[in-house]
Subunit: 110 residues, 2 copies
DNA sequence: TTACTATATGATTATATACTCACATAGTAT
DNA sequence: ATACTATGTGAGTATATAATCATATAGTAA
């Protein structure tokens, strides 16, 4: 793979990682794992302003993480690919590794 | 799980996702998958300023993605957990999904 | 000691992101 | 038509991030 193409790929990948790299957005993704939801229900669930939630949703759509459809007045968002949930598994491995280290350190100190 | 604890978890997870959400940092992680490297070799490989690379590395260490050790003058960085590489698999799934859609759209247009 | 190398970091600037408020739009209901 | 609701977006502000340059530190070698 040529260098310029590789760089473009890293940029695309970074965009996706960035799109999920925010606590509210992760909470939204976690909420949507059980099925599609409209903006106002998402906003209520995570306890944030609708306009703010709307922006976060737009960002995730443009990053290719979510997709949406209209239903009357409401706009319904859903995960574009359930594979995005693998992120949680992957992140958990990193956090577990960290937690193990902390507990090991704690044992040495006590 | 109580709400405050859940929020804290999302923040920790977001920090990790953010730590890999940058093209240069992804390139560094990709470079380190084959083994540990010192700062200057990393900087040369990705073609960026050492001071800049040093900051990116520090950021990833504090997010728990990398760890480092000293060896003489050099500081050697490595992946703290190879599981971070699963991110690439996960991201690829999202990108593939997107690519499939684009090609389907293209077929309709031509 | 001095000279050199690798790395980290303070200070600065530029840019990006997050959030809020106010308003516009679109659909629904009366 | 008016009134209402859900959503999106412009404008502004605050904060975070990225990059660069200059400098400091730490180890090496002469």
């Amino acid at each position: 793979m040529p260098d310029s193409r590789k760089r473009l790929l890293f940029e695309k990948q970074a965009r996706i990682a960035q799109a999920i790299g925010h606590p509210l957005r992760l909470e939204i993704i976690d909420f949507l794992k059980n099925g599609e939801q409209c903006v106002c229900d998402i906003a209520e669930h995570i306890g944030a302003e609708r306009s703010n939630v709307s922006r976060h949703l737009g960002l995730m759509v443009s990053a290719g993480v979510l997709e949406h459809r209209k239903e009357g007045l409401k706009v319904i968002y859903r995960l574009k690919c359930p594979c995005i949930l693998d992120f949680f598994t992957c992140i958990s491995s990193v956090l577990k590794k960290e937690a193990k280290e902390s507990s090991r350190l704690l044992k040495v100190l006590c």
